[in-house]
């Protein structure tokens, strides 16, 4: 039972992070390897706003979310729009370089010691007893709720709202979408903003659970196999992939060897790439052999 809870919590962490990869890839065909760092930036954003509005935790949270959205949009307009039309390698490398830059800048600004944004907000991370003797922390519950909300929200957004439909159109065929009068830059910027927002949420929750350190970005790197296993352009796939990766990781750590933790997601990813490169739910694109 405890294992199932662990899988659910880890899976929802991965799902919350990997939906950022999916959003950006689906809309603009760029894999953002800076997502881990952007996630960490979101967490530091919460830390900063928490010390600013320490009396009103909810205001701090809202401010941190708004900050995340703005950072994402800023990243697009400062950097990524210049990369449209460049090769795949150039775009990926640009995100990698951005990640390194952010990593260094965050250490410069916030230092290297572990921070606890939850203490700043004056909230506690209690442990709750579930039926069957399993335990889950408040943050774990918040994670599950948050992931469910984010995914439901994204589904509704992409299906029903004007901007969501524009985003899907841009992802399907950028040229045609542009010719129908959709402003691609706005759509791409929105995708980056939403991805950074959701990633930032994941970062905040992770930081609330385990403290905020300069090594948080590694979780982001471990989450991207989840997005790939599910299929890089499918939100449903990201959810399924996250559960698969989390399940494999938790079970293997529990029954085989804790050292495997860092490598399991990548083994699953490799197996998936060999069998079905486009992922479980992804659309089969131009990856077939000549």
């Amino acid at each position: 039972m405890q294992l199932a809870v662990n899988i659910a919590v880890l899976g929802s962490i991965y799902a919350l992070i990997s939906c950022g990869y999916v959003l950006i890839y689906r809309v603009s065909r760029v894999l953002s390897l800076a997502h881990g760092e952007l996630m960490m930036l979101g967490a530091y954003g919460l830390y900063a706003t928490a010390s600013l509005f320490s009396a009103h935790p909810l205001v701090a949270l809202a401010a941190a979310c708004a900050l995340g959205l703005m950072v994402g949009v800023a990243v697009y307009f400062a950097l990524m729009w210049r990369m449209t039309g460049e090769s795949v390698l150039a775009a990926v490398l640009a995100t990698i370089a951005l990640g390194i830059l952010l990593r260094g800048a965050m250490i410069l600004v916030f230092g290297t010691q572990t921070r606890h944004p939850l203490d700043e907000l004056g909230w506690e991370n209690a442990s709750h007893e579930l039926w069957g003797g399993a335990r889950i922390s408040t943050v774990g519950l918040a994670l599950l709720a948050c992931t469910a909300l984010v995914y439901l929200g994204l589904f509704a957004f992409l299906r029903a709202t004007r901007w969501g439909i524009r985003m899907r159109a841009a992802g399907q065929h950028a040229l045609l979408a542009a010719q129908r009068g959709i402003g691609l830059h706005g759509v791409y910027a929105l995708a980056w903003g939403l991805a950074t927002l959701t990633g930032g949420l994941a970062g905040m929750l992770l930081a609330a659970d385990a403290g905020l350190e300069g090594t948080l970005y590694i979780v982001g790197l471990k989450a991207f196999p989840a997005a790939l296993v599910g299929g890089l352009d499918s939100l449903l796939g990201a959810l399924a992939g996250s559960l698969i990766i989390a399940g494999a990781e938790v079970l293997l750590i529990h029954y085989v060897d804790p050292l495997l933790a860092d490598v399991v997601p990548f083994i699953v990813l490799l197996a998936m790439l060999i069998v079905r490169p486009w992922g479980l739910f992804g659309t089969r694109e131009e990856l077939d052999r000549v």
Partner: protein, 349 residues
Amino acid sequence: MSQPRSSGYWHTRYAQDTALVETRTQKFWLAALALALGTYPFLANALWLDLANQVLLASIGAVALMLLTGYAGQISLGHAGLLAAGAFTAGILFQELAAPMWVTLPAAAAVGAALGLVFGLPSLRLRGLYLAVSTLALHFIVIHIGAEYETKRGYSTGIVMDSPVQDARAWYFVLLAASAATVLFSLNLLRSRTGRAWRAIHGRETVAEALGIHVARAKLTAFVVSSMLAAVSGALFAYFRGFVSVEAFSLYLTIQYVAMVIIGGMGSVLGALLGTVFVVLFPYLIDAAMRALGVADRLASLVFAINYAGFGLVMLLFLVFEPQGLVGLWRRAQNWALLWPFKQRPVQR
């Protein structure tokens, strides 16, 4: 490419066509370069000698990556894994069997070639982004195997090795020879059938296949050759440091090598060399700049963060403003000097 070196196309013998060095001016500058490289270790102090050694060592790996990414167009994010494989092969053979260097280096090359085959297999099905991701996954797996060996055998901090070459000056000549051999080998390979096939694949796979190039074989060859060189470079690194540990082969090392290729300029061996010099010297440049500004002591604890941030920034600037890299700058300067007082090249023959 074809820079106007000689004043025209005057070749009358095949030997002239295949020569690497065309004109007397080129021969002169090449000799001057050889002389400068030969006398360098006797003039430089310990720091500069060490820097030169680092550059020479890294240049082997950078040229290897350039063959794969810059010429054959196969994106790899697993370079650190290959370097680690070479280093660990050397380290394990030394530790378990006390094998001498002339055994460990070929063994590292063999392991590298075998791993290259493994790294290359996904490239038969995957392209671009997905290939990069699969090599990244393989990187983590290789590193995991190395870490597993370290913990299982009780070398949790790393494997200590002693090298037959001790003196920094001796190392300089060993590394210079290795680097020069790599560059010569690559230049000649790139002019051969294999190199032309790689460039054709880079251009467009379908067309390459239509031209009668065995795409799968050419891709695998690219991976095998590149990984072999990378593994040898890793083994040399192990001997040079006298120490092997998985911590040295993080993803950041891959990024550094990719940065060498990018900053140097895609599709040019000279670019790989220039990029190596730039990337290896970059932390020292930052350090020197901080010293010159007089803030070195105050920021001593943050040096690595400044390095990270500066490195990311420089890489971004190159990607955005000078995608041709240092070699692009160099070619532009060369063209300017060669064509002056004119601005445009004459119509190509």
